[in-house]
Amino acid sequence: MSAEKLSTLEAAAALVRDGDTVAIQNMATQAAPMALVRELIRQGRQDLGVVCLVGGIPVDWLAAAGAMTRLTGAAVSMEQFGLCQRYRKAVEAGAIRVEELSETALNARLGAGARNLPFLPTRGLIGTDLIDVNDNLVMLEDPFGGPSVVACKALVPDVALVHAHKADRFGNIGCEPTALWPDLGIMPKAATTVIVTAEEIVDSEVLRANPDRTVLPGFMVDAVVEAPFGAHPTSFYPRYGYDTALHMEWIGAARDDEAMDRFMANYVTGPAGHAAYLEAVGGAERQTALKAWEQA
């Protein structure tokens, strides 16, 4: 037996405090814990630091809402939908400070945080200007006389937000076969508090049937929330693809303030909860279409 971790979106998001550094699972247009991100915006969270490998629409929405002041990550892009323009403008205005890392340097910072090591080394980034502008990176001689490395200082996010396929009510998290981005491999292990949304809450017996597909143990998880289509409008394979229409609507709206405010009111701050959001973005019909990504 284990302790119960089942929570609501509202209560889970309330574990995040103003000023927190929040690691967010995301890859351009994939696998972001969007239900939690929207709830953070709805609750008016401020001064967040965001940690992500490749941030997409969640970063742009947080920037649009003025909820974030810092970003640590390797890239921010919505791939075929272009740059995150609200994020970009905020950075150019000095409202968001960016710590840009290569992928191995981000992994090293998080890996050191997870393993309670003061740093981990990489051989990436050597020769780039990214080392010079970052106090968390320093060249270090190999004590065995080999080549120097970049020591990457441990990073312990206050919170990690991830979305998963399955969870039981004790917080054990199961994945279906798909890409395991570094987010799941390392962010929850590095963070102090871990919040997971899942497509479905299942009986523990479902996880026991495939114990090699359980990716996080319940003792690591602080709150687990059922959120079907919880990654929408990003994709969540093998269950559904990304929502092209909503991404397009966003990049259109992000161009001017009024359209952006309307978009945020319609989809992010307006709907009374996750179910209302799913209705607002097209309901069952849209979901059926997104589930058919393999036929697309």
């Binding site: 890239a75 075929q80 020769g127």
Partner: protein
């Protein structure tokens, strides 16, 4: 199996197809290739190589899916439609970067960069003098900041050869090329480095000693003077006639148009 060995040069090739064919020629049996996001040209090049001269080229689609069987090039080169039917899903944190860092595998990498300078340094970070309040915030280095430093042979592709993308000096180095030129890269302890730059006008390589970028071949109909005009730094004057870039064959063009990318996703990179 397509009759690619005896295929004659196409006469209706387009520039995207020429660039794809040129990059494909860089990859051989026994190599492993991987791609990042919005990489329609490299993905098409790997695929073309596998369908012609390099059937045993290993492809790690989106750095996730080994030996995938996509239907065609999809709208994203990072999402599941590309890595459909893979034989292995490579976990990123532990496995992909171990493969890449190791040095024995994935020894070649295709790079797109917003700015590229005469010594092959790339910039995807910021335009402007101040890193913290840049004139333009670019997407970020992602994996390039690693790939430039860990011994890979780098193949830049640039569908918009102009003085803003090929510059005297990048505003910010987010992908290490030959740094200040000469032996500077070697002295920094780095192996590998930029091999080629394939643009919509020409192919460039790097002088073996000075490591300065130089024209290796001109695409049909393009002159050295046109290239110089489109380049933000002075190119070394050619010592003799510059070879012409080989054009794709009828069969290569057919494979790209009919098999690999019937939806013309590759054209998205050729906006202007």
């Amino acid at each position: 199996m397509s009759d690619w060995r005896n295929s004659t040069p196409a006469d209706d090739w387009t520039i995207d197809e020429l660039m794809i064919a040129r990059l494909a020629a860089c990859f051989a049996d026994g190599d492993q290739a991987c791609n990042g996001m919005a990489s329609f040209v490299p993905v098409s090049a790997f695929w073309l190589a596998r369908l012609t001269h390099a059937p045993d080229l290993v492809w790690l689609a989106g750095a996730v899916g080994l030996e995938p069987r996509p239907d065609r090039v999809p709208a994203s080169t990072l999402e599941a439609p590309l890595w459909r039917d893979s034989i292995m899903y490579v976990e990123q944190y532990g496995d992909f970067w171990t493969f890449a860092l190791n040095g024995r595998w994935l020894t070649k990498f295709c790079v797109g960069a917003a700015q590229l300078d005469r010594y092959g340094n790339g910039n995807n970070s910021v335009i402007g003098a101040d890193y913290h309040t840049p004139r333009v915030r670019l997407p970020g280095t992602a994996g390039l900041g690693d790939m430039g430093s860990i011994g890979k042979a780098l193949y830049y592709w640039n569908p918009n050869h102009n003085p803003r993308s090929l510059v005297e000096q990048v505003d910010f180095i987010s992908c290490a090329g030959y740094l200040g030129g000469g032996a500077e890269r070697v002295e920094a302890g780095l192996e590998g480095g930029p091999e080629l730059v394939v643009t919509n006008l020409c192919v460039l390589d790097f002088h073996p000693y000075t490591r300065h970028m130089q024209v290796a071949s001109l695409h049909p109909g393009v002159t050295f003077e046109q290239v110089q005009e489109a380049t933000g730094f002075e190119l070394p004057a050619p010592a003799g006639p510059i070879p012409a870039t080989a054009v794709p064959t009828v069969e290569q063009v057919r494979l790209i148009r009919e098999v690999i990318d019937p939806d013309n996703m590759r054209r998205r990179e050729f906006g202007g």
